[in-house]
Symmetry: C2
Subunit: 307 residues, 2 copies
């Protein structure tokens, strides 16, 4: 069964792989080379879907200096339609809705093929940000134009740690049409479990069926990447931070941590009956990190009960 | 090798069991019955030591109503010397030092047999509390009078979560003579790992050898006990709180959580090379909870690599 149908059926245990499109400066020829290499690299993975992120500056979310400079990337919708033409699984195309005006969003929504495309709408990264379209407005456009196109939302366990109401946000998004959620990178397993748990019991209380939550994992090859995760709002527990800082091989240590956290979450979601997916993201341009991401997806795929 | 020597040698993987003495109101005969039943119940456990808590009111630490009333208990030193006369392992006798004036502490220290007794000094539960003897003063008395009597300190992972400096407190206590630490009940495995990790790397930086950290576990048979843990300052992660609240059998669910947390910590301490012990506390007077504590100690004893 394909990803859209599995999600609609509140299915579980699916495997995704997430990429950022190439930088806008690379040109069409190089973008195609990147697309070809990527498709070849991921071919053996038996993925249920590919995720394409829509990178936004986000420098408004954090007054501290961004550890890596912001480099605009190709529109993931364009990268998919023009370069990933040979890719066979469904693709989850992110839309940072604040970047697009209503006409752009409308045009994009109208041209999507609901059998092969899913989308995740991401709202503005801070309240102060000027955005062309708000998340709520984008959700209404979707409901009016393409309610059959599977719509996902972001789930942020760290926000649950700070405010304790992320499960209510998930339910509000679900009521607005979201049929799945994708987390940011998970390093703090307790924060993720706290969110899933509160979400599950709130759903039970309201007579709602939980929708799949896709947990995102990545490898981290350097302390600078670790610092960038912190800048992005990812909570890395002290002990994991210390482990990575003192590891002979940061990449290998982060790989092992991700496998440990994923196993813990998989076992937990099975036990409390919340459908889930696993998403491995590869956002680095360093070859060793990309290869380790593919290995991580292979390893996590083996943890899943797949048909 | 007995407990004192193992601790002095920075040994690891030892098993303790902790009790509160009977209430002062029970009378000598009933206290003896309790001591006899307890010794019989624990005989099969192959413990390295018994811990006797010194209960203090602590209502100054928290303005909220205490879920269970404070009922003064026998002095653990008295309970040990008068009632636990047949007990064969060393005993770790807690001293809430603020309850005793210097003459009392001095007299007690002078009569202890360093082959069979260890102690843990606990400071006042809040800064505002009037205390007969401060922790620092008690440590000095110990250093002057009985430095060969193994002295432990308390380790509070939750304090590390709030302030981030508990590892420095441990090192200060170690420099004041502490040769082991005992935590309060652990439900938040990340908080415990964060503390152990920061402690381990701070020791390495200062050229100190880490001393054993004894992690305390317990079962929790009711939501009221869970509430009491919160009152005492124990962080119970939301997801565990939810699990216990919705469990058909709270006691069994808490037993399984404790085994899971303990396994995780044991594996972690072995990996990063911090010596540790396991302490199972039984502070309830309900038979089912006492029996589940003994089972928990049996199960955790099997996890340890013991000679």
């Amino acid at each position: 069964m394909d990803l859209a149908r599995r999600i609609a059926a509140r299915g579980s245990e699916f495997l995704l792989f997430a990429l950022t499109p190439p930088r806008v400066t690379v040109g069409a020829e190089r973008a195609q080379e990147i697309a070809d290499v990527t498709q070849k690299r991921l071919a053996a993975l038996d993925l249920d879907g590919l995720v394409l992120y829509d990178i936004d500056d986000e420098s408004d979310r954090n007054p501290d200096e961004r550890p890596f400079p912001f480099l605009p990337t190709l529109d993931p919708a364009v990268f998919r339609s023009q370069h990933l033409t040979g890719w066979r699984t469904p693709v989850v195309v992110y839309r940072s809705v604040g970047k697009y005006d209503e006409a752009e969003l409308r045009a994009w929504l109208e041209t999507q093929d609901a059998d092969h495309a899913l989308t995740v709408f991401v709202g503005a990264s801070s309240r102060d940000k000027q955005s062309a379209t708000s998340l709520v407005r984008a959700q209404r456009l979707w409901a009016d134009l393409r309610p059959e196109l599977p719509l996902g939302g972001v789930a942020i366990p760290e926000r649950h740690t700070r405010r304790g109401d992320e499960h209510l946000r998930l339910i509000a998004k679900q009521e607005a049409g979201c049929s799945f959620f994708v987390t940011q990178v998970v390093y703090d397993v307790n924060a993720a479990k706290n969110l899933v748990s509160d979400y599950r019991y709130e759903c039970a209380e309201r007579g709602l069926e939980p929708v799949p939550i896709v947990f995102t994992f990545s490898v981290c090859g350097s302390l600078k990447t670790l610092e960038f995760l912190g800048w992005l709002g990812v909570d890395v527990p002290r002990w994991i931070h210390n482990d990575l800082r003192h590891a002979d091989d940061t990449l290998q240590a982060s790989y092992e941590h991700s496998v440990g956290v994923a196993r813990d979450l998989i076992e937990y979601c099975r036990r409390i009956g919340v459908p889930f997916g696993i998403n491995v993201e590869s956002v680095s341009i360093r070859r060793a990190e990309i290869e380790a991401s593919v290995e991580l997806a292979t390893a996590l795929g083996r943890e899943l009960r797949r048909v």
